[in-house]
């Protein structure tokens, strides 16, 4: 182990090494993970989409209430976005604490030529991939049904993952800045779950009082839902799509900058 250094190659930045660490860990759990990310949406889509759908689709306003879609067609693509949000917000809480406190992964990485900023970039790269995987699981389920079997599921997966990291980026900054994990369950209960319920995934938001519609339009998830539903059914206009993406991008960039700041402070005490 003396004179000869191992051959080194530098293809991509240190952030990719952080991504690789996640990938290596994922390799040990992917089987249960992949199964879950297909079975869960399958049950969900069957239970909600077909069950509730059978009530709604025969209702008095069936033709107009859902933009001319069946309940299943209305609701199912939105689940891509909400699934990515749920999985990534969870990943942005406890696993981040693990990296700092329980396993010390980030401290280890920081002791090598990887900087605090690289760690954040790598974690978000991983979240993007995880978002694609989880929304992809839903897409696989949607391929089984006539109403949602379309190549547009592909861009929808990307949009869903993008909506997911628009959540995890600021949430990573939050959870990294906490001294304890006591606040984490409340984030889920009082922030994520309400956003899920009022995201416009289950009913058009014009059913809500005016002020609530405004609030909903401010949440990233509504933009994700609109993107996924619109692209799957071919009703997404370019300007609207660009607007939704730009709004998500703002959350992502602000969250990324904040996360870098928190990680730099925490890993350089």
């Amino acid at each position: 182990m003396t004179a000869t250094l191992p051959e080194r190659r530098s293809l991509l930045g240190p952030a990719v090494r952080v991504f690789e660490h996640h990938l290596l860990v994922y390799r040990r759990v992917w089987k249960s993970n992949v199964l879950g990310s297909v079975i869960r949406p399958l049950l969900y889509v069957l239970g909600m989409g077909l069950g509730v759908g059978s009530l709604v689709d025969d209702g008095p306003r069936a033709d107009t209430a859902l933009e001319g879609l069946t309940y299943f067609e209305f609701f199912a693509p939105a689940i891509m976005a909400t699934t990515a949000m749920q999985i990534l917000t969870n990943d942005a809480l406890w696993p981040i604490r693990g990296g700092f406190v329980w396993f010390g992964t980030y401290h280890n990485q920081r002791a090598t030529p990887i900087d605090a900023g690289d760690v954040v970039t790598g974690v978000l790269l991983w979240h993007l991939a995880k978002g694609v995987l989880s929304a992809g699981g839903v897409a696989v389920v949607l391929l089984l049904f006539d109403g949602t079997r379309t190549a547009a599921l592909l861009p929808a997966v990307v949009f869903a993952a993008f909506a997911g990291i628009a959540y995890s980026a600021p949430l990573i900054a939050f959870s990294a800045s906490r001294e304890t994990d006591l606040a984490y369950p409340n984030i889920q209960r009082f922030v994520i779950v309400p956003m899920f319920l009022f995201s416009g995934a289950f009913y058009p938001i014009d059913q809500l009082p005016g002020w609530m519609q405004t609030v909903t339009r401010l949440t990233p998830i509504w933009h994700g839902v609109e993107l996924c539903r619109g692209v799957v059914h071919g009703s997404l206009e370019f300007v609207n799509g660009a607007g939704h993406l730009a709004y998500l991008l703002v959350w992502l960039v602000v969250g990324y900058v904040l996360s870098r700041r928190v990680f730099t402070a925490k890993l350089g005490v």
């Binding site: 003396t2 250094l5 191992p6 080194r8 090494r17 290596l24 002791a111 090598t112």
Partner: protein
């Protein structure tokens, strides 16, 4: 490895570390030369880890100057860290990965290709005598094994300097000896070792030169044997009296040996000839419950310089 131009590998001048209003390192000077084994000996809270984290180019220096390989950690942190191996006070092994993968991914952090990293990991697991545990999970390993995995991990990038923060704290004597043996081999291979410890025997075993730290300051510096020779008579007579009676012995023992220290559980008499001092104690009728003569150690140097014991 780089050329040796006589410049120290690590150089600190008036080095300080402040956390809020609390100053953990209060202006220390030291130099570490290539190939030597250098130690920070000090009790809990002395500022050893704070110093090590500054040397490791992860913790910003709050005052004074620090250079590694002639580089400033504030501006050249990445290139410095590329040449360091770090064994942190806590192992921080990834329990989601097996032993070998812990090393392989760590090698990747240094941009070593997967194939090379795996080769290096196998070689190092052999070096720390854990080749049969390559595919084991982390959890079932003993404390000593985990420490060896951490040392193997720290060597993945063939570091020029190995930083070890309390390498054997909490390990049983046998595990400590295994570790000392491995570290000694590394030193023979030319790796510069910088370690912290609060065990005097470890410092004596491993360090060519050390500084004794207390409350953020360096109170003495030198090779272990020299520190002992300069700061303490050759032998120590340890006397134990019945509980609570140690403090009362002062008058009876006055003038015996060069110096005395009364501790809660025993009285130490420093003398060049411990047996002679013991005869004198008996002659004066101050016979203890038990007595023991031993050589002076770094513990005694620390006690002499700070008035306190190293390990409470």
């Amino acid at each position: 490895m780089g050329s040796d131009d006589g410049q120290p590998l690590i150089e600190a001048r008036g080095l300080r570390k402040r956390f809020g209003d609390f100053e953990a390192v209060k202006g220390i000077d030291f130099e570490v030369r290539r190939g030597e084994s250098f130690g920070f000996l000090g009790p809990n809270g002395a500022g050893k880890s704070s110093t090590m984290r500054m040397i490791g180019a992860v913790s910003p220096v709050t005052g004074g100057e620090l250079r590694l390989f002639g580089l400033d950690p504030a501006t050249d942190g990445k290139s410095i860290r590329a040449r360091l191996g770090v064994v942190p006070q806590q192992d921080q092994l990834d329990e989601m990965l097996n032993v070998e993968d812990n090393l392989v991914i760590y090698g990747r952090y240094f941009d070593i290709s997967y194939a090379e990293s795996r080769k290096q990991a196998r070689k190092l697991l052999e070096f720390v005598q854990l080749e049969d545990r390559a595919s084991s999970k982390i959890m079932p390993l003993s404390g000593g094994m985990k420490r060896r995995v951490t040392i193997a991990r720290s060597l993945m990038n063939d570091p020029e300097i190995l930083l070890l923060d309390e390498p054997t704290t909490g390990l049983d004597p046998q595990a400590r000896h295994v570790l000392w043996d491995r570290l000694y081999r590394l030193k023979q291979q030319g790796v510069t070792l910088v370690l912290t410890t609060h065990y005097m025997d470890e410092a004596e075993q491993l360090c060519d030169r050390l500084v004794i730290m207390d409350e953020g300051r360096i109170v003495a510096e030198g090779p272990p044997a020299e520190l002992i020779r300069v700061h303490s008579p050759r032998e120590v007579l340890e006397l134990r009296y019945p509980a609570g009676a140690n403090a009362e012995q002062g008058p009876a023992l006055e003038g015996i040996g060069a110096r005395q220290e009364v501790l809660p559980d025993r009285v130490l008499v420093y003398a060049d000839d411990g047996e002679a001092a013991l005869s004198e104690v008996h002659r004066r009728g101050a016979s203890p419950e038990s007595a023991l003569v031993r050589r002076s150690s770094l513990e005694d140097v620390f006690l002499r310089l700070t008035g306190r014991t190293l390990v409470e």
